[in-house]
């Protein structure tokens, strides 16, 4: 399993993601600067949280046009695993790799707290460590996590089973309480909550660990 974390100007959960991936894979995880253009050696590419380009213009909009994005698309097209968390999720929707958009939270405030999620399916490389319908506790930390799509897209992603996780108690106004979505093929996952933040009992929980353990095993 070879994994890397993409670093944009003002990514700031890059190290957290690296720590979580290294803990589960037991291997060194590379940090890849956004000006690079080749990701051919990697099984898993993670786009971390943060404030790429200061969230100026629109969250993720500028990063989605960075030089690395060509390589990220190629990686996804050839079936490589691609994980976007928080700002990473915003970037992947801006790049058209995942459906929907992330709007400002319904109460217009940044929110940082643990939330409960329901695991919607567990037949993917990301979620095989959970059981279907399992409730897990994962932190959110975002200002723009309000998931939205047009009706048609919503119907399609619900119909295809592309919803990965749902909030039990919706913290941001997301449509259908959607916290994370897959692409149709299931090799790309974007979610607003931060599984990498709860992989260590000392930090208050380990509900994020099964995702990284599953990725480490599945793509071994």
């Amino acid at each position: 399993m070879k994994a890397c974390v993409i670093v944009f100007p003002a990514s700031n959960c890059d190290r957290d993601m690296q720590v979580a991936l290294e803990r589960s894979t037991g291997k060194k995880v590379d940090m890849v600067w956004h000006r690079e253009s080749d990701l051919s050696g990697y099984d898993l590419v993670a786009v971390p949280g943060g404030f790429s380009y200061g969230d100026y213009l629109r969250c993720g909009a500028m990063a989605a046009r960075s030089p690395i994005m060509g390589a990220i698309k190629k990686h996804a097209d050839r079936g490589g695993l691609l994980l976007g968390v928080c700002n990473g999720f915003q970037i992947l929707t801006e790049a058209g790799l995942l459906p929907g958009v992330l709007m400002r939270n319904a109460n217009l405030k940044f929110v940082c707290r643990d939330v409960e999620l329901t695991v919607e399916r567990n037949d993917t490389a990301f979620a095989s460590g959970y059981t279907k319908g399992q409730k897990i506790r994962i932190p959110v930390a975002h200002h723009d996590g309000n998931y939205f799509t047009d009706d048609e897209t919503l119907k399609r992603i619900e119909g295809n089973g592309q919803v990965a996780f749902r909030y039990v108690d919706n913290p941001n106004g997301s449509l259908n309480s959607i916290a994370g979505v897959y692409n149709e093929r299931g090799n790309v996952l974007g979610l607003m909550p931060h599984p990498e933040r709860l992989v260590d009992a000392q930090l208050g929980g380990t509900d994020g660990l099964p995702m990284f353990d599953a990725l480490a095993k599945g793509a071994a």
């Binding site: 700031n12 957290d16 405030k109 940082c112 933040r197």
Partner: protein, 742 residues
């Protein structure tokens, strides 16, 4: 060149006497650029001219102190080659005028102070004080300040892990925003500001210079009046995105050997940074302002030297390292410009700051007289009159003990601050072991089992009633809060917020508070390593409560041993450490239940602080935490034993049955008295803990057992934890959901 008139001198905030000193130092009339530079360098904010004499009396040394006050931030040794670098700084006046940007740039400025020295910031805290909730501006200010702090810190990816927030009418026209940053560095890779190496290049990096914040330092050194709103253009605008890039670029360059000296451009911007570097190094600087990256056209030398544009740094590099350094800053898409050269001092040993602009020499100033010979005042002061201690019997009982408890837990000053800290990312960087809401935040040293505990505290009403005791109490409370997590308290930073020092009674508050802080630092081996003074916190002649905010940092050797404030399970024994005398003078009970404001003499003296007792009780509690015998610990402060018990219960969602052990004291004095040096702990092994306490000469009382959903005292008084929690959690969201908040 324009002639300097007395009006121009006055507009620059310099007194007649100070201007005479300017003429003496220059040996001629200064031009307007030079006058502007004098004005900011000698502002209270930059020169500490009213406070210096007293600050010198603070203890600043201990074997673990690497660098005390005087640099950008203080540095302590935390073992294994690691150092913690921290400081607290105020951004009060700007935050009142423009709350979002004022607070945001306060956070940005304090983080720069810390990473300038080579540290990666690992935690932010903030101590906020607003006017009374009913004041028409309060909601707007809370809203803007909290969003500004979050907006900056969240983008930087540095967790905001703790702080405090208090409402009091004395801050109606002058809020306090004190921001603290704690960073980590390697003890052998710390950077200082002393310039060295004649001929070495002086390099400007970061954002471009604009016209924002000109004379911010001078504004921070005067009282507010009705027209302060007109000073809005002197508030700087923050860009956390650029600061994040600046942080990464600086830390990357710091991994090489290119940097001789580095200084951030904070208050008084290019002026103070260049003068501080030159004066610390005993050299001069020739600076060409044409090379300064500029955001606006036709900026004058005066404007460039006084601009407080954010996210800028000044460095002296070793010769020949410019290209390598430039490549790093270009990678991070930041400006990089060589704007000057270090020069020899003159025959008298004075370095000169010589500025060129558009081919002309526009200023020539001797550096040392400006930097070191700034005025130092021994302002007249009068001691604060002593107050009587209130007897416990003299303060009326509430109609219901539990009703009073609910009121206090659900009032403006006793309620949960969750509404605030959920707007701050308090977990990013993946090392926050104890999140906000406890006694102190605990943040792990990345990749180790060590951790730093950090907190900020002060009880301004105590300081007002007795500055010496209040100063002691502020330090002692931080020490207790750190101790309650199992940390060994190491050092403090002090942020002295006071009114107009030209009033003897205000100066007396300052002098008294410094004395109290110094007493406590000495008694607890807990020196001051950095700090900031903010005077003239007055509006139309009314001063704030004296508010010396103390930020404390402690070390936990094994983070697995730390405990929180939530009851450690059901069926645990509850023990109070320390003696209870029912001290209700200046108590939260007196304010919230009896409705006093603490200002009148009959509101009594604050609780006395016995520093030897603090040390004895604290050392005992810490020893128990480290040996793993106790499951929760909370210090007893505002609101006394009952509020502390309620907080432990609400955090764990577990109730408790407490014996009525008030004895001779009225129950409300026992329950709400604010005697110092006390903690509440829970343990499954009460006999052993009590026995060891007795051996150590520590007063310890078994008062009850955890369990059920009720908090009960004796046979008569009971309230459900859920009801308390509902009151505790709802005040702030309810208050802020009012439409005026936006």
């Amino acid at each position: 060149m324009s002639k300097i008139t007395p009006e121009i001198v006055a507009e620059h905030g310099l007194s007649k006497e100070e201007y005479q000193l300017v003429l003496q130092i220059m040996g001629r009339e200064p031009n307007i650029t030079e006058l502007g530079i004098f004005s900011v360098m000698w502002s209270e904010h930059c020169s500490y001219k009213s406070s210096k004499k007293w600050l010198k009396t603070l203890p600043t040394e201990a074997p673990w102190v690497i660098c005390g006050p005087g640099e950008n931030a203080g540095i302590i040794d935390i073992g294994d080659g690691d150092a913690a670098i921290f400081k607290m700084e105020s951004h009060n006046h700007p935050s009142y005028i423009e709350p979002y940007q004022g607070a945001a740039t306060g956070v940005g400025g304090i983080m720069r102070d810390v990473f300038t020295m080579g540290a990666r910031p690992i935690a932010n805290l903030n101590a906020l004080r607003f006017g009374r909730p009913e004041h028409p501006k309060t909601r707007h200010l809370v809203h803007g300040v909290v969003e500004g702090i979050g907006g900056y810190g969240n983008c930087m990816g540095v967790p905001t892990v703790g702080g405090e927030c208090e409402f009091n009418k004395s801050y109606d026209g002058n809020i306090l925003v004190n921001a603290m940053t704690v960073g980590l560095a390697k003890a052998n890779n710390i950077f200082y500001c002393a310039a060295a190496g004649i001929g070495n290049p002086v390099v400007y990096v970061g954002s471009k210079t604009g016209r924002d914040g000109i004379h911010g330092a001078t504004m921070a050194s005067t009282e507010f009046t009705e027209d302060s709103e007109e000073k809005r253009p002197t508030v700087q605008v923050g860009d956390p995105f650029t600061e994040k890039l600046l942080l990464e670029a600086c830390l990357e360059l710091m991994q090489t050997d290119a940097i001789v000296a580095i200084q951030d451009m904070g208050a008084a911007g290019l002026t103070s940074s260049s003068f501080e570097m030159a004066s610390s190094g005993g050299v001069g600087i020739d600076m060409n302002l044409d090379n300064v990256p500029q955001r606006e056209q036709n900026m004058t030398a005066y404007e460039m030297m006084l601009s407080e544009s954010q996210e800028r740094m000044l460095m002296v590099l070793k010769p020949g390292k410019e290209d390598m350094a430039r490549a790093i800053f270009e990678k991070w898409e930041l400006d990089f410009a060589v704007i000057g050269t270090l020069t020899e001092p003159d025959a008298d040993g004075n370095g000169h700051m010589v500025l060129y602009h558009k081919g002309e020499k526009v200023a020539d100033l001797p550096i040392n007289p400006l930097a070191h010979a700034s005025p130092e005042y021994d302002r007249p002061w009068v001691p604060t009159p002593k107050r009587e201690t209130l007897s416990p019997e003299s303060v009326a009982a509430p109609t219901s003990i539990m009703g009073a408890l609910k009121t206090m837990c659900g009032g403006a000053n006793g309620s949960s601050r969750r509404w605030i800290w959920e707007q701050y990312d308090h977990m990013v960087m993946g090392d926050t072991v104890q999140r906000p809401g406890g006694d102190a935040a605990v943040v792990r040293v990345h990749g180790t089992q060590k951790a730093l505990a950090m907190t900020s505290d002060v009880t301004p009403r105590y300081v007002f009633a007795d500055p010496v005791m209040g100063g002691r109490q502020a330090v002692a409370e931080t020490w207790r809060n750190l101790t309650a997590t199992g940390a060994r308290p190491l050092a403090i930073t002090d942020n002295m917020n006071f009114g107009n020092p030209q009033r003897p009674e205000i100066m007396g508050q300052f002098v008294g508070a410094v004395e109290g802080i110094a007493d406590a630092c000495r008694a607890l081996d807990y020196p001051v390593v950095s700090g900031n003074v903010s005077l003239y916190n007055e509006t139309n002649g009314t001063g704030i409560l004296p508010t010396p905010t103390i930020g404390g940092v402690g070390l936990i050797d094994d983070v697995s041993k730390t405990v929180g404030i939530g009851f450690g399970g059901v069926g645990q024994a509850i023990i109070i450490i320390g003696e209870t005398h029912g001290h209700l003078g200046q108590s939260q009970y007196l304010m919230e239940i009896i409705g006093r404001d603490g200002l009148a003499m009959e509101d009594g003296a604050p609780p006395p602080v016995d520093l030897a007792l603090e040390r004895k009780n604290g050392d005992f509690v810490r020893g128990e935490i480290i040996s793993g015998t106790i499951s929760a610990c909370h210090d007893v402060s505002d609101g006394g034993i009952l509020v502390a018990l309620a907080e432990m219960a609400m955090t764990a969602n577990i109730g408790a049955k407490i014996e009525d052990v008030s004895g001779q004291l009225p129950l409300h004095a026992w329950g709400f008295g604010e005697d110092q040096a006390r903690y509440i702990i829970t343990t499954s092994n009460p006999e052993d803990v009590l026995e060891r306490a007795e051996k150590s000469g520590v007063w310890a009382t078994l008062v009850g057992t955890t369990g059920s959903g009720e908090l009960t005292i004796g046979d008569e008084h009971s309230i459900s934890v859920a009801e308390l929690k509902n009151a505790h959690e709802s005040w702030m969201p309810d208050f802020m959901s009012h439409p005026e908040a936006h």
